[in-house]
Symmetry: C2
């Protein structure tokens, strides 16, 4: 399969490297890492074992790549206005576009430009960081929950599932991509938001009753908004407590948005906060705590 990686950061480089290692024809659209990767290849430092790809196909512009079978989108969501420019030249008649980006609104934006029938989405649970140019660090997890944006092509899902599985990625199908995205937000909104705002790891948030209560209240707001979106199966209220239980075991974990703030990068406030707020409001669900958190994060951005 001919695959283009658009947004070759910590996520795109990692999954792209795994796919190339398993035999796929992967083309990376590169900026910062272009010189290092085209000269010396790409090295993955991974909790599952390090490896180097000495020959990697890197490009500076999408029209040098041409049309592909699959575009894998790993862009930070605040760069979504570049979709047309970066992805347009890659799309032929049968091209699939799979976004592994954070939050909500990405499939919709891609569908508007390229048609909904070719859009797929994956919810990625990955801990990875960029290193020096030509390097990427895989710190943990890597699982992808994968589904169609529009109903229904089970063979196509099976095909991508097989591709990721061969590449060593724990990849699972979902028949309700929207639900999977909202489920991830139940965790992401409070923990990414509060940790980034307060510059504290998750165990400090959970150390005080009032703040633990706030986390649960935020989770309930997200669950209520999610369940107003016409999901096939609602998210149970108890999901919040379940998530909290899992989070206790994560110790002094720094969520990605906290790391983004610590390293001075832009925060993905629109996709993770403002889009969910917008979809909630469309169903007349108000989320005062999520709204306040988004506003406070924009204020420190």
């Amino acid at each position: 399969m001919k695959i283009a990686i658009v947004g070759a950061g910590a996520l795109g480089l990692y999954y792209g490297a795994l796919l190339q290692r398993s035999g796929e024809d992967v083309r990376f659209l590169l900026r910062r890492d272009y010189d290092a990767i085209t000269r010396n290849g790409l090295t993955v430092f991974s909790v599952n074992g390090d490896f180097t790809l000495p020959q990697v196909r890197g490009y500076r512009a999408p029209d040098e790549i041409g049309t592909v079978d699959l575009v894998l989108v790993g862009l930070k969501t605040f760069s979504n206005q570049l979709f047309a420019e970066l992805i347009g030249p890659l799309v032929g008649g049968n091209t699939l576009i799979l976004t592994l980006q954070n939050g909500l609104g990405n499939e919709e934006a891609l569908a508007e430009l390229f048609g909904g029938e070719r859009i797929m989405g994956g919810v990625a649970f990955l801990r990875s960081n960029r290193g020096q140019p030509g390097e990427v660090h895989h710190l943990g997890e890597g699982r992808i929950t994968l589904g169609e944006y529009q109903c229904c092509n089970p063979e196509r899902v099976e095909h991508l599932l097989g591709m990721f599985t061969r590449a060593g990625v724990d990849c699972r199908p979902t028949e309700d991509l929207k639900r999977s995205r909202w489920e991830k937000l139940v965790w992401n909104i409070p923990f990414n938001g509060l940790c980034a705002l307060l510059r504290q790891p998750i165990n400090l948030l959970l150390a005080k009753d009032a703040c633990r209560r706030l986390v649960l209240d935020i989770m309930q707001e997200v669950i209520t908004a999610a369940n107003a979106q016409g999901l096939a199966r609602p998210i149970a209220e108890a999901y919040a407590e379940t998530m909290l239980g899992i989070t206790y075991k994560m110790g002094d974990y720094h969520p990605s948005m906290l790391i983004d703030r610590e390293e001075g990068r832009q925060l993905e406030i629109t996709a993770i906060f403002r889009k969910p707020l917008e979809y909630g409001r469309q169903q007349e669900i108000m989320m005062p705590r999520v709204e306040m958190l988004a506003t406070l994060l924009e204020q420190i951005q």
Copy 2:
């Protein structure tokens, strides 16, 4: 009038100095400033003109002062557990206690210890800072709104009003002290809280639509809780917009809680946030944004 100043910080030193200058017999309970003040007196650097009191009566312990006509309480509210120890020895049969502290719950705590009939409260609008030992800086304002905790002794209010007026303080009576305290909170809760949390002056809060909206939403929560407390006259909803209009003219003003945070001091979260939340809840008024703000401030405390 024999007056004891308990809590001789930026507020207590300033009002105490004005009262002594106008001829009252003022006794200061001192810790940090004891040596400097008993040796060299007290200097006020004021926007209204500097002055020095070369002779000031300073004491280390309240029983050295004995009973007085009036105790003026300027303690930071997180030291309210010291009321019995610091004020007890000063109280005789006819002693009045006037608290000029921030937030809610101070009159109640004093009334429980010393009886409600002798308690009065003043809402102080004062910008002052401690300087070197023996010095206090008056940066602006100074107005006091003064009233009875329990109904009703107009002569007593008149008497204190006259005393402050002679001392050069713009002092006005209120027949609804509770309302005056809540009115001040309509400004104090959003601006002290958000500025301290974000480490931003007020003009940065007002620069973005979403944050200005958040300020107004918080103000409305406070107004709703206030109006559930049985005030003689409700606070109008439009009061929020009025306050906002005044605030625009204050430029890059740093509210006192922001200064407290910048200088590493403890924040008055209980009196300014938790007590209003408690009084709200007693009337079944929930304040989700105020609650979230209190929780976030406790988290960085």
